[in-house]
């Protein structure tokens, strides 16, 4: 696949696990992770384009929002976001690929495993959008 998918979030906080859930459904080539970390900058610098997938408290539960991502340099290493990763990719490896963020609306972010029915609907919607985008 020419598109690198990175789904991130805490699978022990209910719908926050929507991102890694989507990445795992896509299988090999997609990255499911707990959080974004600096070393991903090298990986994304080699990808033609990147789709980040994350649960999004600002999106209606069960729906998705496709958001643009632009490089945004930040010195804060406690909390990485897609824009910071793109900036690190550009600064360190000379290239920041085109990227979007698919935000999945969640309903419950309480302690516990598994997605709510609404977040599952959102995750399926995100999968459809990614597969359409990548021609799968």
């Amino acid at each position: 696949m020419n598109t690198l998918v990175i789904g991130y979030g805490n699978s022990l906080r209910g719908d926050d696990g929507a991102g890694p859930f989507v990445a795992r459904q896509l299988g090999a080539g997609a990255i499911a992770c707990h959080q974004l970390t600096p070393e991903l900058a090298e990986t994304i610098s080699q990808a033609p384009q990147v789709v980040f997938v994350d649960a999004h408290a600002g999106v209606h539960a069960g729906q998705i929002a496709v958001l643009s991502v632009e490089p945004r340099a930040s010195a804060a290493t406690h909390r990485f976001d897609p824009g910071t990763l793109l900036a690190w990719s550009q600064l360190l490896y000379g290239r920041a690929p085109a990227a979007i963020l698919i935000g999945i609306g969640g309903k419950s972010f309480a302690l516990g495993e598994g997605l709510s029915p609404a977040a599952k609907r959102g995750a399926r919607e995100a999968l459809r959008a990614i597969r359409k985008m990548t021609g799968q």
């Binding site: 959080q35 970390t37 070393e39 090298e42 010195a75 406690h78 690190w88 360190l92």
Partner: protein, 472 residues
């Protein structure tokens, strides 16, 4: 009386505050490091089945979860009274080495390199990882690549980079595949080359920090760490050894269940972080340090060729017991080299692919102690269970806790030497934070993150009047 507060300290793992007291002449009279929040793992794990403890306690930290996993499973092994299969021990150590590499890379390149490469007095707006990327992109790339290798090795071994569930009471839950072994072996040479380059670079510039070396926690303390039966460095297993500031052995070959005969804990009124001390000498004289510097100070050798050569040079430069906390950086790089060499040796061992990797048993003892070396130092998990295996009592002594008293003394020494209360400069305060960074405290092991990192320093007059203020 005036007070300077550095709140919170930046570029450390977790959050802390430093308070510096000045007299009316602007001279430092006292300084303290405060850890301001409490996690409570020792209390809320009571009642949980002992075999859940590795998974629960790994959540203490996102940086060194493997250390908590290993100390915890070792305590559980003791409760089960099992000897784990040889291959399981090899695999646990291999996983641990991966964690040492990624954690030491994080500390050196991401957290402390801005001070070391850009300068303690450089523009604070640029003295961060972005400034490092701009001015030293190759070193920044090296740091990312080295940390990536360690994290990748953990994932190839254990399935996940953070909080893997592979290590279990009795061993590990799956053998190593030849494919995973070969993937790690293929990446090892590049990682070793990075550490060799970085060590060569650091040894070339370390003498430029003579004033910091002389005043960064350059204090007489004891040192504690794990060693094997012949005094060689141990990260996963081994027995506890204490050495004093003159290099004399104080206690040696202390088995895990004996730790409480040598280590006692007290509390400080100004911090939620417990303060362990060497029990036979009491709180005042029993201050000891753990972590990379302490491990190299207590061990007689590393046990791998390249690390042993570096070990010899290190002690030739700084003596049998190198006393300055600034040398934590140097020691960290030597240990990264050791961990990589050790990974190579473990992967070359034919037993590493053996399929027998787990022993099964129920509760055969009502108490268990597990000790491992976390990247930041000795980590102790001590559990007591009932007949059904439910936790009745738990005591966790984390590396940062062992260093608590020494960090406080170090903060005071740096403050006394560098701080002039009448002419406050940011570089002075940065050095106070930098000595804490040298210890690489993992406050996540004892605190919850709160808010975004920020430094706000206020200089107050004796009557509480705001005299000066700096915000970073």
């Amino acid at each position: 009386m005036k007070t300077i507060r550095i709140d919170p300290v930046t570029r450390i793992e977790g959050h802390a505050r430093i308070t510096i007291q000045l007299n009316d002449e602007g001279r430092v009279t006292d300084a303290q490091l405060h850890v301001t929040q409490v996690r409570g793992f020792e209390k809320f794990t009571e009642g949980r089945p002992f075999y859940e403890m590795p998974s629960i306690t790994a959540r203490i930290c996102g940086i060194c979860p493997v250390s908590h996993l290993l100390a915890s499973v070792k305590a559980c092994d003791a409760i089960m009274a099992v000897q784990i299969p040889e291959t399981a021990a090899l695999l646990r150590e291999l996983l641990h080495c991966g964690q040492f590499v990624q954690s030491h890379a994080l500390s050196f390149f991401h957290l402390s390199a801005p001070d070391l490469l850009l300068g303690m007095d450089s523009d604070p707006a640029r003295r961060n990882v972005l400034g490092l990327i701009e001015q030293h992109p190759e070193r920044a790339r090296n740091g990312i690549a080295l940390r990536k290798f360690g994290q990748q090795a953990i994932e190839w071994l254990a399935g996940e980079r953070i909080h893997p569930s592979w290590t279990v009471p009795g061993g590990v839950n799956a053998p190593l595949s030849p494919e995973a072994r070969d993937r790690i072996l293929a990446e090892l040479p590049a990682a070793k080359a990075i550490v060799r380059r970085t060590l060569a670079f650091f040894k070339g510039v370390v003498d430029q920090f003579a004033e910091e070396i002389a005043n960064f926690g350059n204090i007489p303390t004891l040192y504690a760490g794990l060693v094997d039966a012949t005094g060689g460095l141990q990260l996963y297993d081994g027995k506890l050894r204490f050495r004093d500031a003159e290099g004399n052995l104080v206690a040696d070959q202390i088995r895990a269940p004996q730790y409480a005969q040598y280590i006692a804990e007290t509390t400080l009124p100004t911090s939620y972080l417990k303060a362990p001390y060497y029990k036979p000498l009491g709180v005042s004289d029993g201050v000891y340090r753990v972590g990379p510097l302490a491990r190299l100070n207590v061990a007689d050798r590393c046990g791998t060729p390249e690390a042993d050569a570096e070990f010899a040079e290190f002690h030739q430069r700084y003596g049998r017991a190198a006393g300055s906390a600034f040398h934590y950086h140097y020691a960290r790089l030597i240990e990264a080299l050791y961990a990589l060499e050790r990974m190579e040796a473990l992967l070359a061992d034919q037993a590493i692919l053996d399929k027998h990797v787990r022993a099964h048993a129920g509760v055969n003892a009502l108490e268990g102690v597990g000790i491992a070396e976390a990247p930041r130092g000795v980590l102790i998990h001590h559990y007591k269970v009932d007949e059904n295996g439910a936790i009745r009592w738990a005591n966790l002594i984390v590396a940062t806790g062992h260093n608590n008293l020494a960090m406080n003394r170090s903060v005071r020494q740096v403050s006394e030497h560098f701080i002039d209360g009448n002419h406050l400069r940011e570089g002075m305060l940065n050095r106070v934070s930098a000595v804490v960074r040298a210890y690489d405290p993992c406050l996540s092991c004892s605190t919850h993150a709160a808010g975004m990192p920020d430094i706000h320093v206020r200089l107050l007059g004796a009557d509480g009047t705001l005299l000066d203020e700096l915000r970073q």
